[in-house]
């Protein structure tokens, strides 16, 4: 494996700045690595090798003119639910298998403007619905640490691509944990920003009030660099917030003295893999050792989070996915008699089982006579969950939890039991319901050699505190430097 692909974003940017490496070198190395590892992993739906080389040359030209920037010339890849102009964007669905994006998502445009080199579009659960990346119409992605296991989901491709050193940074989307949970499963860093921090314009919607784009990278510093580029107000997204974007890198000073860490007792319960709990407790002690104050708190409405999430998310999804009807773009059933038949067949053929399940749930939750009992009640519980966090944040700076209750599970292990699968996101979902920023970073490995994730949750728009705490922990450990053996030599 080329050492170039094992670099972190800031290491690569430093080499670029010092002219010790070119964007072309980095990109070629990434494309070679992709070619070698893709057969075993399938992180990508589309690899844009030609476009990437062009972008790399353009980035080198910009560097030659004296320009620089944290992502200028850095090979990245984008979850295939985010539109990239002129490139196929599928959302992992058959219904969009032929859809070429007619415009750039705001985050894509910002990466482009920053000179990041996009090497391709990453595999994901169809319409971001899933916790394993097994629900992609284009096949499953495998976990680089054990190719018999899932990479987590729905941004499984975004996480595995980093873990397998296929590129240096990726974008995922997180509706109920879809960045953090796969980051934990793959042993990389993934950040879900505050709702409204990053524009959703051009991001194919799953659940509008929960979705948020965020970065994945090998290091906390890499995530900070990516976030600095994609974050900020966008007039095309009414829910994006007009607040200035801090210089995240400037906050990463390694200091946590006096940091008030809350540990919610509801997150350390039966069902959590003992090695996961042990690793998180060890991480807490390490931070305490650096002068952080740790105290136990309660988030009493946590137990309603999964139920609330599945009502809100599926209700919004049932409406958001109505546009895929075969009329204007995407798949259309070939033999249909009349309009209604065309709708039925198109959607029956185009959507996978999990998507259909959620559309049905959401349609039911919104239908006349059930709206008050389900959707409206869920919104009320959502408010209670948010207030739980507000109360904790009145006296603490961050909340620290495991990211997922277990390490990566086997492919196929949970597909027959959706409810069991839904519990994969049990520790991440509340954060989306409350709209908070949260990061997952590696904090150890279990006895099977699978990574364990630590989640740090912050106040709204306090990404810099979350990143600072995570960076401080990262400096104390070597977890992020480990390489998965399974694909280390470019094969399973």
């Amino acid at each position: 494996m080329s050492e170039l692909t094992r670099l972190s974003i800031d290491e690569a940017a430093d080499l670029l700045k010092r002219r010790q490496v070119s964007a072309e070198d980095l990109t070629r190395a990434a494309l070679e690595r992709i070619a070698a590892t893709e057969p075993a992993l399938h992180s990508f739906i589309t690899v844009t090798a030609e476009g990437a080389m062009e972008e790399a040359r353009a980035a080198d030209a910009r560097r030659a003119r004296g320009e620089h920037g944290p992502l200028l010339g850095i090979p990245v890849a984008i979850k295939d639910i985010i539109l990239t102009r002129g490139t196929r964007t599928t959302a992992g669905s058959k219904i969009l298998s032929t859809f070429v994006a007619p415009y750039d998502a705001t985050v894509s445009a910002r990466l482009r403007a920053a000179g990041a080199v996009c090497v391709g579009k990453l595999n994901c659960d169809e319409f971001a619905m899933g916790s394993s990346t097994e629900n992609s119409a284009f096949g499953v992605t495998r976990n680089p640490w054990d190719t018999e296991r899932v990479p987590g989901g729905s941004s499984g491709g975004s996480a595995s691509a980093i873990a397998a050193a296929q590129c240096l940074g990726t974008l995922g989307t997180d509706t109920g944990g879809s960045i953090r949970q796969p980051a934990a499963c793959c042993g990389v860093v993934g950040l879900k920003p505050t709702y409204g921090r990053v524009s959703r314009y051009g991001v194919i919607a799953y659940a509008s009030s929960l979705d948020q784009v965020g970065p994945l990278a090998r290091t906390v510093r890499g995530c900070a660099a990516m976030l600095g580029v994609v974050a900020g107000h966008d007039t095309a997204d009414s829910t994006s917030v007009p607040r200035p974007v801090p210089d995240y890198a400037a906050h990463l000073d390694g200091k946590v003295r006096g940091l008030r860490i809350a540990v919610p007792r509801e997150y350390f319960v039966e069902g959590v893999q003992p090695e996961v709990e042990a690793a998180v407790r060890t991480a807490l002690h390490a931070l305490e050792g650096q002068g952080a104050n740790v105290s136990e708190v309660s988030l009493p409405h946590t137990r309603y989070a999964v139920a609330t999430y599945y009502l809100v998310a599926t209700a919004e999804a049932s409406s958001n996915l109505a546009r895929y009807d075969g009329v204007k773009y995407g798949h259309r059933a070939a033999a249909a008699e009349g309009l209604v038949d065309m709708y039925r067949k198109t959607r029956a053929e185009g959507f996978g089982a999990e998507v259909k399940r959620r559309i049905m749930l959401g349609t039911y939750a919104l239908s006349a006579g059930y709206y008050d009992a389900y959707y409206l009640r869920a919104q009320k519980v959502r408010t209670l969950i948010r207030r739980d966090f507000e109360a904790v944040f009145a006296e603490h700076d961050v909340v620290l939890t495991p990211t997922a209750p277990t390490t990566a599970f086997r492919i196929g292990e949970r597909t027959s039991d959706p409810l069991q699968m839904y519990l994969s996101d049990i520790f991440t979902i509340s954060v989306n319901l409350a709209g908070l920023p949260a990061i997952s970073l590696p904090c150890g490995f279990d006895t099977r050699g699978l990574p364990i994730g630590l989640q740090i949750i912050g106040r709204p728009f306090a990404e810099e505190i979350v990143l600072k705490a995570a960076d401080a922990y990262e400096r104390l450990t070597e977890w992020h430097r480990r390489t998965p053996d399974a694909v280390a030599q470019g094969g399973a």
């Binding site: 994006a101 959703r200 314009y201 919004e316 409406s319 109505a322 006349a368 959707y375």
Partner: protein, 483 residues
């Protein structure tokens, strides 16, 4: 129960397309009449990943309508999604307002046969329009034109307080006038920028509960609305009188056969699964914004009518006709500014101007755009009459030419030699000639047949090609016949 013992209960839902330059959730032009699918972008086509951003003008237009109808402007309202599948609805839902609309309450004052009434409004809310399906235009395929997708609409819902087709017509005309005065809707029913659905039921006189309600759609003129309501009252009365039962349904007005027919039955009862649109923030309006919009409100139809009576001394009837349309009232005032004969000008506009406007079917579009007679020219025409330059009769001829060429009345009169003959000698000569040529009739007249006077006037006018000053003709004829 015998006929005539039912009371109609009518409520109207009006959809008014707003005259904003851009659509409600994107920057596309909202102008009518572009080639199919030209005024579209990823947002109004509902492409994957797109998000709506509210056009502030739309909110202000809604506030204007609300303030002009004495509605309560909500400080906090919300956008909702109305979910249903239709090919002309790109997102699979329509962004509308549901349980928290921007305006509630409010009222419109009407007058039917001299009796004033106030019709209360339930609500006014904003929503986006949909596209249009075009069938059979291309073999057996159906095409969709998405140009109207995202064009802003106001839905104005009245309480079920209208009691006759005439009241419904008066209400609609007043509402349209208000929107036109506010310059937020062109009110063109034929082009669909001012659409109306009517909910009609009947109940025994004196009874409180409502009868079974029928919704009527597809009416594209005021006349159609009135005729459809009349038809429906009649139909429902007949059904009940015959011991039948009414069903709640939607019926379409068929303008050719002048009847309503059933569109769909209850088994297709819609469930729109409304819920707050998570892509749009709640709409918060503060008092300062309301006050600023209130500042911009123009004089409204009722106030203007009163002012026409007070300032120009017009009869109430004239003032009512002239102020029903803002463009007509503006035109009237522009003419009067050039020549202060208020009543004569009112007569010209109510008579000849409106007749030609109707003949040319300009009554749906703002007259001022297409109307060829400039205000100063109509004023000049009336002045020519007042100055005795031309007769009222000649003026009609001049007017027709002004309508067809847009020319100036002074030039038309000069070019065609239509100047009135007021010269005594010339008229006297014509009078003498007529008397000389009709000796028998002169004898009859002198024998007491007074009615023949009109005949002599006619002959003199004919001899002078209508140009003789009628007053002079009268004078000189009387003198000669008395002779």
């Amino acid at each position: 129960m015998a006929r005539g013992q039912y009371e109609p209960v009518i409520g109207l839902e009006v959809h008014a397309e707003l005259l904003t330059a851009a659509k409600v959730f994107c920057g596309c032009s909202a102008k009518f009449g572009a080639p199919p699918n030209q005024n579209t972008c990823p947002v109004c086509l509902g492409m994957p990943g797109t998000l709506p951003v509210v056009n502030r003008r739309v909110i202000e237009f809604a506030m204007r309508a609300g303030l002009a109808t004495r509605s309560e402007i909500a400080h906090y309202s919300r956008w909702a999604r109305k979910n249903y599948f239709y090919p002309d609805l790109p997102k699979g839902y329509q962004i509308s307002q549901y349980e928290l609309p921007i305006c509630t309450g409010g009222a419109v004052d009407i007058e039917v046969e001299g009796a004033p009434r106030t019709i209360r409004l339930t609500r006014i809310h904003m929503e986006e329009d949909t596209g249009k399906n075009i069938h059979d235009a291309h073999g057996d395929a159906s095409l969709v034109d998405f140009n109207r997708c995202g064009v802003p609409l106001l839905e104005i819902v009245s309480e079920p307080e209208l009691r006759s087709a005439a009241e419904a017509g008066a209400y609609l005309r007043k509402l349209r006038a208000i929107l036109q005065y506010l310059e937020i809707c062109d009110g063109n029913m034929e082009e669909g920028s001012f659409r109306c659905d009517a909910n009609v039921s009947i109940r025994p006189v004196g009874s409180k509960p409502f009868g079974i309600k029928v919704e009527i759609k597809n009416m594209n003129s005021f006349r159609a609305v009135e005729r459809a309501i009349e038809y429906e009252i009649e139909r429902q009365t007949t059904v009940l009188d015959d011991g039948g039962r009414l069903v709640q349904e939607t019926r379409l007005w068929d303008p050719d056969r002048e009847l309503t027919r059933s569109m769909r039955s209850k088994e297709f009862a819609d469930d729109y699964r409304y819920f707050p649109d998570p892509d749009l923030l709640p709409l918060v309006i503060d008092d300062a914004w309301i006050a600023a919009v209130r500042e911009t409100l123009p004089e409204l139809p009722d106030a203007r009518r009163q002012r026409f009576v007070d300032r120009y001394g017009l009869p109430a009837y004239d003032a009512e006709v002239l102020t029903q349309r803002k463009d007509l009232a503006d035109y009237y005032e522009a003419v009067v500014r050039h020549h202060a004969n208020a009543k004569a000008i009112s007569n010209w506009i109510m008579g000849d101007v409106l007749r030609v406007v109707r003949e040319r079917k300009l009554d749906n579009a703002p007259i001022i755009h297409d109307w060829p007679v400039l205000p100063e020219r109509l004023a000049a025409l009336v002045k020519l009459i007042d100055d005795g330059e031309i007769s009222g009769k000649i003026a009609k001829t001049v007017f027709e030419e002004m309508v067809s060429t847009g020319g100036s009345p002074v030039e038309i009169v000069a070019a065609r030699g239509l100047t009135q003959i007021s010269d005594d000698a010339a008229i006297q000569a014509a009078v003498d000639a007529v008397i000389g040529a009709n000796t028998a009739k002169v004898a009859e007249y002198r024998g007491g047949k007074d009615k023949l006077f009109g005949f002599f006037v006619g002959q003199v006018m004919k001899a002078t090609e209508g140009k003789a000053n009628p007053q002079k003709v009268n004078e000189l004829l009387r003198a000669a016949l008395a002779g």
